[in-house]
Symmetry: C2
Subunit: 343 residues, 2 copies
DNA sequence: GTTAGCACTCTACCGAAACGAGTGCTAATT
DNA sequence: AATTAGCACTCGTTTCGGTAGAGTGCTAAC
């Protein structure tokens, strides 16, 4: 059976009406609101075909049709019109960012809030990923007897610090030499390189500071590699309770439960690599998201992906709007973060 | 009318039964389950008195009674038995902390998770408050042309850093002199002192570095005073959906909405100063908490309050258990944080 | 002061009936 | 051959009356 243009229009009508109303759409509704030139009987026939083709479903006899995941997929890929957010909204995102600039952290939280406010779904954002950047500089600062502070500055201008407690005191000169040594070794390296770093090699060339380096380095590497896992921000979690899909308390609870699993959310967002990705319903790997759609996008510093943002909503999602917003958001984030670096 | 011992027992019975069942408690239930020697008729009379005295309420004629806020208050203050958590649970809290030690941040998140898991309510924790500590040391580090990193180390060993971008480059020697100058002025001061700090005075004695100090200082003070607002962690928000109080979607949504207002939560937790505080129902200043109870406790470093934790639940809360858990938690937090310092 | 008994009240629950939205099929129309 | 009108049928939702049950307040007896 082929997909005539009228079928396409009917599918579009069903999806868009269902997105608005969350009610199964009947043939008469379509005939009256969308395809006024066509009778409901004709549309019924077409709908029957669409059902056979798997694009729509019937919750029960004598109800209208609702889109299937496959239907949404076709819609997203070939039917819907793109970029529906208007210039004013784009400006809003841009402007809001300029206002919130300063601390990267605050900016990220703000991005999350904006996303959820504009879409009325739940947003998730992961903070810039240290691991994905390179090391620019390492500074060791003596703050007390046998206590030093390690500050790490990355390509992306992100800082990490950790307090290292040593067994013995270090004199300032030695500390400077050690700092230089570490910088020689580490500056310019990517985090991937650190993982396979040869500790022994460094120790052999430690010019008498072996003992100290032996104490400092493991902690330092630890900080470098693992400190920034799972910095996840959510916003608008309560938005989903406005949706009829979640008027069922149990579903709502399930959803909220996942939203409290930071590590899980982190993972989900972290292994997306496309610029913009749309996962519809059962396309999601996670069992708990089988009735949701997830729109994700990555943001970059100097064209290197270092984080991502996402929107979670019901499969009945305003895809077009959500996609444009997420896209616009990551573009702005990338631009601003990259600029912060250049300054 | 005076409060005889039997009235007290009946009130206790009503409250404890209601805490367990969330159903209005009738006279027959009490006569059968709690005061087996007394007939339901007698208890009815007593209950009528208790209602007149304002300790219990009737949702409608021909329903049992439920405790009023005043009733809970009396219960918490004079009736309930204290410290109901057992040694095993105490050990659990202690042990969990030892496991999660290391980064303060992680520890705080973990505390929040533990609180909500053990109580099955929603927990809120605010991270150690920088503002409430004194400055130990300030370090300025040149990381690039006209870019310096300010690291602040406080009494409590907490660090803050901010990147400062200057209009002109600074040579290392000047930076050291400036650093020393700042340390002379700031080290040992409490955050309260900073607020009233006389900028002009420092500028007058700036030994030729006035221009740089003028650029550095405002940002630095900004960081000191405002950077750590609203580091709030929540956990177990979805727990409340298990409670019959929130089977009504609207109430649940209201609750979730508040829980997304970090600043609000921060404020609520931040202006509690007692060691342990219980606010019941309408005793809460916040409109949205009029049907909740809030148990808060503060934790300290070296006997100086620097943060607090709290539990939010329905007025029908297991006060005794919740209070002990919160108390135990803050004691452990205080101890461990204080020890971290000493090391 | 306490208790048994009883009339009364109010809610929650249940089932039947009416309703209405929507379908699928058939026959007529274009 | 495609479209449409008409109609019987299905199934979920709403409404409504009736009933059961829990609990009270009051009275009279103990």
């Amino acid at each position: 059976m082929d997909m005539g243009n009228r079928k396409r229009l009917i599918l579009q009508a069903i999806i868009e009406d269902y997105i608005n109303t969350a009610e199964p759409v009947g043939s008469r509704t379509i005939s009256k609101k969308y395809l006024t030139g066509t009778s409901s009987a004709t549309i019924r026939n077409e709908m029957s075909d669409l059902e056979d083709m798997g694009y729509i479903e019937q919750p029960h006899t004598s109800a209208g049709r609702i889109p299937s995941d496959k239907g949404y997929r076709l819609y997203v890929d070939t039917i819907m019109k793109q970029n529906t957010i208007n210039e004013a909204q784009r400006e809003m995102i841009k402007k809001e960012f300029i206002d919130s600039m300063g601390e990267i952290d605050r900016m990220i939280k703000h991005a999350s809030k904006l996303l959820s406010q504009m879409t009325q779904y739940t947003s998730i954002v992961i903070a810039p990923q240290f691991r994905r950047t390179g090391i620019k500089q390492i500074q060791l600062i003596r703050i007390d007897k046998a206590v030093i502070l390690a500050v790490i500055i990355t390509d992306a201008g992100i800082l990490k610090n950790s307090v290292l407690r040593l067994k013995q005191d270090v004199n300032p000169d030695a500390l400077i030499r050690i700092t230089n040594m570490l910088n020689d070794k580490f500056a310019g390296l990517g985090m991937e390189d650190i993982e396979s770093f040869d500790l022994q090699d460094l120790l052999n060339n430690s010019m008498g500071h072996g003992e100290i380096i032996e104490q400092v380095l493991p902690e330092l590497i630890q900080t470098l590699l693992y400190s920034d896992t799972s910095e996840v921000y959510r916003d608008g979690v309560s938005n989903i309770l406005n949706l009829p899909e979640y008027s069922n308390i149990n579903k709502a609870r399930d959803f909220l439960n996942i939203m409290e699993e930071r590590e899980l959310l982190f993972k989900v967002l972290n292994d997306v690599h496309d610029d913009v990705n749309v996962s519809i319903g059962k396309e999601n790997k996670l069992e708990q998201f089988k009735e949701c759609s997830l729109i994700t996008a990555t943001y970059k510093i100097n064209d290197k992906t270092i984080g991502s943002v996402g929107i979670i909503g019901p499969t009945r999602m305003e895809y077009s709007k959500a996609i444009s917003i997420v896209e616009c958001m990551t573009n702005n984030l990338s631009e601003i973060l990259t600029n912060i670096l250049k300054r």
